[in-house]
């Protein structure tokens, strides 16, 4: 029973990361109807930036300063990618978009190794790795959940109570009508990308102390993020967050009690395919009816 509780709590902690990535994926999916396959690599690159800001060989800033600077840099970077790379091909076929996402994936992955070399790096945590409750959860993992929840609340408040959040929702839901009432849809898309990149960077900075910082650290994590987004429903940010936590717990249960740690990624693969086949709308998603 102890093991069960321990695995569930630890699943909640990694679920927090998956929830962040799932949320980032859903934000971009809602804005442009595409999966950002480079989301994980963007987050990884942001984390490298944070590392550079903190490291003694870099700028040597304290953690929380680096944390917020990194979020701002990621926000600007994400918005810039939308404006520079995606805006010109907004009308191109699906394949072109997928190719550009894969191109970004490849570029960020190698750029990180290229600039910061491929050796795994230690990433500091402001919470420390000491146990919060002995045998159940460490301070860092508790911090992960805490930071995620605070961030989610902020994002919820942003979309729910600010005019610009409303404008962004309008631009995503009905771009034509939004444009007619004077919303700059292109600008809103860039904002959405910026937010997604910022959320992703938080996920990267939270998970790096556990996985170590390497160019490939987000590959598996992104897969769980996608699984979370699919389970929760691609059209529902709340669903994505719930889905992310569910996938985190499920991953730990399956890994410990059913298939063993070696098939954890296969669990995500099966989960994605089964949900897409059986309930494509996910838990909270809206069923999209297409007119033929």
């Amino acid at each position: 029973m102890d093991l069960f509780i321990e695995q569930t709590v630890s699943g909640l902690a990694s679920g927090a990361i998956y929830a962040c990535l799932a949320l980032a994926v859903v934000m971009i999916y809602q804005a442009i109807d595409h999966f950002n396959f480079a989301q994980g690599e963007m987050a990884m690159f942001s984390t490298y930036i944070a590392w550079y800001l903190m490291d003694d060989a870099g700028l040597g800033l304290p953690f929380w300063v680096a944390f917020f600077v990194c979020i701002i840099v990621s926000f600007i970077g994400g918005a810039a990618i939308e404006r520079i790379v995606f805006a010109p091909i907004s009308d191109a076929p699906v394949l072109s978009h997928i190719i550009v996402f894969i191109a970004l994936f490849s570029m960020f992955n190698s750029l990180a190794g290229f600039m910061f070399d491929f050796t795994p790096k230690q990433f500091t945590t402001p919470f420390g790795h000491e146990a919060l409750i002995e045998g159940v959860i460490s301070w860092h993992r508790a911090g992960m959940v805490g930071v995620t929840l605070i961030m989610l609340l902020l994002i919820y408040a942003f979309f729910r109570y600010t005019p610009i959040g409303l404008a962004m929702r309008a631009a995503a839901a009905a771009p034509e009508s939004a444009r007619l009432v004077g919303i700059r849809v292109g600008f809103m898309l860039a904002l959405g990308w910026g937010l997604a990149a910022a959320v992703g960077s938080v996920a990267g900075m939270l998970i790096a102390p556990i996985t170590f910082l390497t160019p490939d650290m987000m590959l598996g994590t992104l897969l769980y993020g996608f699984a979370g987004a699919v389970v929760g429903g691609l059209t529902s940010p709340l669903g994505a967050v719930i889905g992310g936590f569910m996938v985190g717990i499920l991953e730990n249960w399956m890994g410990t009690f059913v298939v063993g740690s070696q098939l954890k990624l296969t669990v995500a693969l099966v989960l994605i395919i089964v949900v897409l086949l059986v309930k494509p709308a996910g838990l909270l998603g809206r069923v999209v009816v297409k007119r033929v």
């Binding site: 970004l104 490849s106 190698s110 290229f114 070696q262 395919i273 897409l276």
Partner: protein, 365 residues
């Protein structure tokens, strides 16, 4: 069989099928030009091992191997309109099928190609069944997940007695059969080197499979695949069994990439899970897109491109030794830049560029 065209002139049968035949490039009908290109390429494939030896010819073999892998992706994405970011998985299935047959059953390397192709076809067909229900973007997601899960799956302890787990499998050296050796000996008077033989074997398989793809694309089945890509609904209305053709296309595509995997295992005499990561799937996509995803010739260019770029990147890195510490990072960067460049400037890839040139020349007054 010869028939006559509208002007009453006698023309070969293969020139009489579609409007493309009316396109003249410098007075030569386009299909004829394509055939000439094919024969020139074939001649080049035959001549290469006579000229080159050692690492050079090994590289040419690798190009043909990648050409096959890219061809598989082109058949699926370019001709049937289904996306796959997970072809590294089928590449792995082919490679491991060959390796396990050689390692466990003691089969000779040349006998494993056809069974491995069959295994890959079945694997692809089965994956194609659930893929039927997934639209383009969701199929890309499912195959992305497949590609990422594959290396971990290959390392799984439960099948490690077959796959060799993390260590992988070391394979027997593919020595040429005695009769080939003696024929070469009697003609040239020198022994056939292993590198040359590996190339010849790869080229033999690649040429047969390329010819198969050529015929497939230009057949009734090929037109059905293209019709499904262009308009699934009207294809269905015309009586094409879209589900059957789409799953079969997935099977055939997996078979091509899988046979490339088999050749990969045979040529390198070794394989391990780390060779089948998502990076490999990116390579195939790069090759397909840059060569021209809806083109067979494009696959050849794509195969060359993905093999040559790391070499060029290494060369560039070594000349800038003082500034660049991690040359392996350069390849991915160049891949990415070329992908974006291609999408922006020539969405149909190198083959599309050639087509535009042909069009310019043929309509010149």
């Amino acid at each position: 069989m010869a028939s006559t065209d509208m002007a009453g002139k006698s023309v070969p049968a293969f020139l009489n099928q579609n409007p493309k035949d009316r396109i003249l490039v410098l007075g030569v009908p386009l299909p004829l030009l394509e055939r000439v290109c094919l024969y020139v390429l074939l001649a080049a494939v035959v001549v290469l091992p006579m000229v080159y030896d050692g690492y050079d010819i090994y590289e040419f073999g690798k190009i043909l191997m990648y050409m096959l892998a890219v061809l598989g992706l082109n058949l699926l994405t370019g001709f049937n309109g289904q996306f796959s970011l997970g072809h590294s998985a089928f590449f792995a299935v082919g490679a491991y099928a060959t390796a396990i047959m050689m390692d466990q059953l003691g089969m000779p390397y040349w006998a494993t190609i056809i069974p491995a192709a069959a295994v890959c076809f079945v694997a692809g067909f089965l994956f194609g069944l659930p893929a039927l229900r997934l639209d383009g973007l969701f199929l890309a997601l499912a195959t992305f997940a497949l590609a990422i899960a594959t290396p971990q799956l290959l390392k799984y302890d439960g099948i490690a007695h077959l796959t060799g787990g993390v260590q992988g499998i070391v394979l027997d050296t593919p020595y040429p059969p005695g009769w080939v050796d003696s024929i070469v000996m009697s003609i040239t008077g020198e022994e056939l080197s292993l590198d040359r033989w590996k190339y010849m074997f790869t080229a033999f398989v690649a040429v047969i499979m390329f010819a198969g793809a050529w015929n497939l694309v230009h057949s009734r089945t090929g037109r059905a695949l293209i019709a499904i890509r262009d308009n699934p609904l009207s294809a269905k209305t015309m009586g094409i069994n879209t589900s059957m053709f789409k799953s079969a296309a997935f099977g055939v595509s997996a078979m091509y990439t899988g046979v490339a995997g088999s050749l990969f295992a045979i040529m390198d005499e070794y394989l391990a899970p780390e060779s089948f990561t998502f990076a490999e799937a990116i390579k195939f996509l790069v090759g397909g897109v840059i060569g021209g995803i809806a083109s067979l010739f494009g696959a050849i260019f794509g195969g060359w491109f993905v093999l040559e770029i790391p070499n060029i990147a290494d060369l560039a890195a070594s000349s800038l030794e003082n500034y660049i510490n991690n040359p392996q990072g350069l390849t991915g960067l160049i891949y990415g830049l070329f992908l974006i460049f291609t999408v922006y400037v020539m969405p149909m890839g190198a083959a599309g560029l050639a087509q535009i040139l042909v069009h310019k020349i043929s309509t010149r007054r």
